[in-house]
């Protein structure tokens, strides 16, 4: 549960919630600062930093050159030595340019040095498809980073969670990677005022149900909830678990849900093969929950292709509500 009692709340968009979290983090702790491309006067490619530069100045809202590898590395170096940088990638796809610093340095430095240092860096990744930006600006790479011990990888699905999880990430002594689906930025939701945290590593049951469990990530949580509503009309009672954290994964919540429903489906946007759903499935298969299963596990993930430009093709590469409804119906009825 949340670390503090929540007081007044109001509607904010997901992007506004991130911005508010960063502002609160900077107000609470002078070591916190922001780095990224065009996050200053431009306000960020998705207007997430917005006008923060006017409030906090260019020393704390730093535009970097177009230098992802160097920029991420500078953030790592700054974090190791006593500051708390929040580094924004303009698109999550550009993590590929910075993999060296993320994977070899940020993730391993503490371990390699036998615990002598911590790397309290936060990296933010606008991710996902649906904007017509094609193959190099639409990927979902959370499973890549989820594969690396030493990193924490989160995918908040709501304005409430992204604010609380970002504040938790800033305080976390270890590197936290936040994947923010671009289509969520404009989504509105209730967000408490002031400071609160949402713990990293805890999944959340978004909808209680008896017939089958859908574990979904990020924007797929909303699609799964829509699908669950449609299925409810048919008398199929779906439980929706919002994974929230890819690493470390919350085994207990998922196992508990599967114990209850005996059927599991994973829905995620990243490429299906070797993705987040593979890990959830394997985790269940290895656990005592395997005995609770009444049907094979089903995974709905991204198609085995780069993201195409054409809007119809683009839609076809990622799970949509209709596809979730159909797959869940088949699973609930035991058909294969």
């Amino acid at each position: 549960m949340d670390a503090q009692v929540e007081t007044a709340s109001r509607e904010l968009s997901y992007a506004q919630a991130i911005q508010e979290a960063m502002a609160i983090a900077m107000e609470r702790d002078e070591r916190v600062f922001l780095m990224g491309e065009d996050i200053g006067v431009y306000g960020g490619a998705f207007q997430v930093t917005g006008d923060l530069v006017e409030r906090f100045g260019t020393d704390r809202v730093m535009d970097t050159p177009i230098s992802e590898l160097g920029g991420a590395g500078v953030a790592v170096g700054a974090a190791v030595t006593g500051t708390r940088p929040i580094f924004e990638f303009q698109f999550s796809d550009f993590a590929t340019l910075a993999m060296e610093q993320i994977v070899n340095q940020a993730a391993k430095m503490r371990y390699m040095l036998g615990g002598a240092v911590s790397v309290p860096v936060v990296m933010r990744f606008p991710a996902g498809s649906g904007t017509g930006a094609a193959a190099q600006h639409s990927q979902s790479l959370e499973a890549w980073l989820g594969h690396v011990p030493g990193l924490k990888v989160i995918q908040p699905a709501t304005p409430h969670d992204v604010k609380g999880m970002l504040l938790a990430a800033v305080e976390d002594p270890d590197p936290v990677m936040i994947f923010e689906h671009k289509l969520l930025y404009k989504m509105k939701g209730e967000v408490p005022e002031g400071y609160y945290t949402v713990p990293i590593g805890k999944a959340e049951v978004r909808r209680q149900g008896a017939d089958l469990t859908i574990v979904a990530t990020s924007i797929m949580v909303h699609k799964a909830l829509d699908a669950a509503e449609q299925l409810a009309a048919e008398g199929i009672d779906v439980e929706v678990v919002d994974l929230r954290t890819v690493r470390p994964m919350d085994r207990e919540t998922i196992i508990e849900s599967v114990r209850k429903t005996s059927r599991l489906m994973c829905v995620y946007e990243g490429v299906k093969t070797l993705g987040v759903g593979a890990e959830i499935s394997a985790m269940i298969a290895e656990s005592e929950a395997f005995d609770y299963l009444d049907a094979p596990i089903v995974r709905l993930g991204g198609a085995e292709t780069p993201i195409p430009y054409n809007p119809e093709l683009e839609k076809a590469t990622v799970p949509q509500v209709d596809g979730i409804v159909k797959a869940a119906r088949d699973l609930a009825k035991g058909a294969r």
Partner: protein, 345 residues
């Protein structure tokens, strides 16, 4: 575009005081260059309008105001020479010989598009004309150009490769690594930085430690030349020198074209980082097409009626291109996974 050079006596007869461009290329080629610059501008205006009307989705990066660098460079290339382009690559594509109908079709996501609807504006390419593709990754095309130049050297096929990139790209590691390798291996490549003053919102002064991108050339032991990127004549002269050098096996060069983009960075730019006056000044005082037209008239290459004829002709080609795109078929979703791997018998 394979510019047709004058030969022998014809070349010598012309005034020796004329700029290189006007000495080296015949009138037809020069008029063709103007036509292509119009084609670039009208193509982008047409794409922009189609976007506003909801016919094109995603985003796009317009190079309106930068036509002279694309044209001036490609004038010196043959159809066999190759280029790598950028996210702001429509001009490069057209200057290198692409057909605007197939470009529009790509923007409309159609099967008749250059990338069969898979790539869109940011990945426009025409491999048959030597355009190895625009790129969604800043500086992503620079090492690829060096690789293409390595092929040219290994195969001894005489090709020269041009890598277009922006000022912002010069701060990526890929730029530095690629220039170094091109230099140590003396590869036939020309690096063309289109310095429009900004990488998105970040000015060169705020992002780059040296004053000019061309200053970087010294670190990689290659010539670095700064030209007025809004003057076709200046760009073409520098391009000619660099391309000759590359073709003669003397190695790479870096050309910095100082220019300016009129439009915002992409379709979501509030233009907060530059002033209206600055934009106005470039648009009214330094327009590359107007400048070229004045020169062409001054040197007797074309008259007003000739210019008007080009404009009308281009307008027709653009309208026909949009029509072609609208009428072309959408890709079949069943083919979603086509082109991920090479089909093998």
């Amino acid at each position: 575009m394979a510019g047709k050079a004058k030969t022998g006596a014809a070349a010598k007869k012309d005034g020796a005081n004329l700029p290189f461009l006007y000495q080296h290329y015949d009138h037809e080629t020069l008029r063709g260059a103007l036509r292509k610059m119009y084609l670039i501008r009208r193509f982008e205006e047409g794409a922009e309008e189609s976007y506003m009307r909801g016919l094109i989705h995603g985003t796009m990066h317009l190079s309106i105001g930068q036509e002279a660098s694309a044209m001036g460079i490609c004038l010196g290339l043959t159809d066999d020479d190759q280029i790598t382009s950028t996210h702001r690559g429509h001009g490069h594509s057209i200057a290198k010989g692409a057909d605007v109908s197939r470009m529009f079709a790509e923007f409309f996501g159609k099967t008749t598009g250059y990338c069969r609807g898979r790539g869109g504006s940011m990945h426009i390419a025409d491999v048959t004309k030597g355009n190895l593709g625009a790129n969604g990754i800043v500086a992503g095309g620079i090492p690829i150009a060096v690789g293409a130049a390595l092929t040219a050297k290994k195969m001894k096929n005489g090709k020269v490769v041009v890598s277009f990139f922006g000022d912002g790209a010069n701060n990526e590691g890929a730029f530095h690594e690629a220039l170094n390798m091109a230099s140590i291996w003396k590869l036939p490549v020309v690096f063309v930085c289109e310095n429009n003053g900004y990488g998105m919102s970040t000015s060169v002064a705020r992002a780059t430690a040296v004053k000019n991108i061309a200053d970087r050339a010294a670190a990689y032991a290659m010539p670095g030349e700064i030209v007025d990127g809004n003057s076709v004549a200046d760009v073409a002269a520098a391009a000619h020198r660099a391309i000759e050098r590359a073709r003669n096996g003397e190695g790479p060069s870096l050309i910095e074209c100082k220019t300016y983009r009129y439009r915002g960075h992409s379709k979501s730019d509030r233009n907060r980082y530059r002033t209206k006056e600055e934009i106005e000044e470039w648009m009214t005082q330094r327009d590359p097409i107007e400048h070229f037209e004045e020169e062409l008239q001054e040197f007797g290459v074309i008259d007003l009626a000739g210019i008007e004829a080009i404009r009308e002709d281009v307008a027709k080609e653009i309208a026909a291109g949009i029509e072609f795109a609208k009428e072309s078929p959408m890709p079949d979703v069943a083919n979603l996974e086509k082109y991920v791997y090479t089909e093998q018998a």
